[in-house]
Amino acid sequence: MESTSIFEVSGLSKSFAGLKAVDNVSMKIKTGEILGLIGPNGSGKTTFINLVTGMLEKDAGRITIDQHNIGEMQAYQIPVHGLVRTYQTIRLFKHLSSLENVMIGALGVGMKRKQAAAVAEDLLEELGLSERRDAPAQGLTFRDQRLLEIARALAAKPRFLLLDEPAAGLNEEETDELFALLSVMPEQKNIGILIVDHDMRLIMNLCNRLHVLNYGQTIAEGKPEDVRRNPEVVVAYLGSEAS
């Protein structure tokens, strides 16, 4: 039986020139589950991901994986502790081949070259990108680039995967493919997923729990069907007239 890990954030805060982008946010994710982080534009979702992955310096708060404090680490030190991410705007190494892009995920957490190449080959096969293994990433279709970014993150053998709007730019059919991929991932790979997206169909069907932010603050948490009916969430998304 595989062990359960816990990714925990408590009291996380960040201000930009006095504006509170993330205000005292706490959450907990276990391996094997998918948590959706939602909220209107500018509610602090991406800032939250940037803070927990070390891309931004936090003002306050504690970030741990299995009680191991990763909140004071540099961004490049975090993947080896089991937390990796993808970006809202795809960030690939455009001149590197697909294989090299995925290998980097493995090399970045200290795997040897041969092992990294084997892991990358397996992931490219798993995600249907093997035919493109030698093609520079910049030549891939948008869909394949999205998948390649996920493959690179998975190559680090993470315990927690943070996906920042993975469905952005995908059509309905591609989003369904993404759903099929992500829905089995927590169990198959024993990982926890935090997903940010505006596609409510994907979020509602995929996530075990939701965490809703508005103006940097948590306004609701719980199961998707409960959150959907939460009046504060309805107001945040549709405005006060809707309630």
Binding site: T53, V80, L92, M103, G105, L107, V109, E131, E177, L181
Partner: protein, 371 residues
């Protein structure tokens, strides 16, 4: 999220996987073999011609090739223009000269030289390697704080460092004979075969570096340093390792140059030299070893041809000095506008690339069928 491939696609994918492990001779190491074969072929042909003037030009060009490969190692893989590079070529040139010169000759030529430097004496090859090591050590000492800087700021600081190195080389009389010419004495030690031997080693090394884990990590910092950080890459560290390695090759090229030309000044390792290296990597393509190789070949041939033209024009009463630099500069501007990745387009010369070049092109129609 596996795509439903057709039977043909699956067969193709399986065949490609089965026949193409990550390190495949035809797709990877054939680059080194081809580049070495071209260079050696030219070298043997020139030696066979037995025309000292052409042999001299070739030897000098091979030293420049070594220098441009070291320049490409850092610039091509990190994406940062390293202005200070020619400074390390200069350090290698002076340091190896100090190491190899007879102590009595040093005492006579540079009486004010520090006594501990006057006493040093090494044979030619160890002296060249020691000179390269000195360049590498100096790079290792000064580089760390500069490696965090990117884009324009990174380039400006490298430029400032070049000025510091150049002033030290041209004014530190107790080490370099100051603004006066530093004459090594003796006979030329960097022969055509020595230069070729080192060039073959450097081509192999620079290509190996690019394909190594370190080279790959450095290339990620060139493409997207945010994604590199979040993939576990400490880009400051990999840049530092690349920079220091590049300085070693620059120092090596400098040592070979000083033992070829036999008299050096700090001015030989400044803007005009940097411009030459830059034009070579831009015209050839900065992102590949083949690009540096062919850039060096093209620019050298163009400069030699244009210099002969300059001489011809000058003899016929038309003052044309500097024309070759102007033409190369215009060529560089045109490449930057029309073909920013150079003649190679950032790709490497390989057997596979050659096969593709001569293979009839297949076009795909709207139904995805090849015709």
């Amino acid at each position: 999220m596996k795509r439903n491939n057709t039977a043909d696609e699956n067969t193709l994918a399986a065949a490609s996987l089965g026949s193409r492990p990550y390190f495949n001779f035809s797709s990877k190491w054939s680059t080194v073999v081809l580049l070495v074969a071209i260079l050696s072929g030219i070298g043997v042909f020139i030696w066979w011609l037995n025309i000292p003037f052409i042999e001299d030009i070739f030897t000098s060009s091979v030293i420049t090739l070594i220098s441009v490969l070291g320049f490409q190692l850092y610039m091509g893989n990190s994406g940062i223009l390293n202005w200070s590079y020619v400074g390390y070529v200069g350090i290698g040139a002076f340091a190896s000269a100090i190491f190899s010169m007879e102590p009595s000759l040093k005492a006579m030529q540079i009486p004010i030289m520090y006594p501990f430097l006057q006493k040093l004496h090494l044979p030619f090859i160890p002296a060249v390697l020691a000179g390269a090591l000195v360049a590498m050590i100096i790079a290792a000492v000064v580089a760390w704080p500069l490696m965090r800087l990117s884009d324009a700021v990174g380039s400006i600081t490298q430029f400032a460092l070049l000025i510091v190195i150049n002033v030290l080389l041209s004014q530190w009389a107790e080490v370099t004979n100051g603004p006066r010419t530093f004459t090594l004495g003796g006979s030329r030690q960097t022969t055509i075969w020595v230069a070729l031997g080192f060039a073959i080693l450097v081509i192999t090394f620079v290509y190996y570096f690019k394909e190594s884990s370190l080279g790959m990590k450095l290339r990620t910092s060139r493409d997207d340093r945010y994604a590199a950080r979040s993939s576990g890459i400490n880009f400051v560290k990999v840049r530092y390792q690349g920079y220091v390695t590049s300085a070693f090759i620059g120092g090596l090229a400098g040592g070979l140059y000083s033992h070829y030309i036999l008299s050096i000044t700090a001015g030989s390792f400044y803007m005009s030299e940097l411009f030459k290296l830059l034009s070579m990597v831009v015209i050839g393509g900065s992102m590949s070893v083949s690009g540096a190789f062919f850039g060096a070949l093209i620019v050298t041939l163009a400069q030699q041809g244009l210099r002969q033209l300059e001489l011809g024009l000058t003899r016929s009463g038309f003052e044309a000095y500097g024309m070759s630099e102007i033409v190369v500069a215009i060529l560089m501007i045109l490449f930057l506008i029309l073909r920013p990745n150079g003649v190679t387009g950032g790709r490497e010369l390989s057997l596979e690339a050659l096969r593709n070049l001569f293979r009839p092109k297949q076009y795909t129609n709207n139904n995805g069928n090849k015709k």
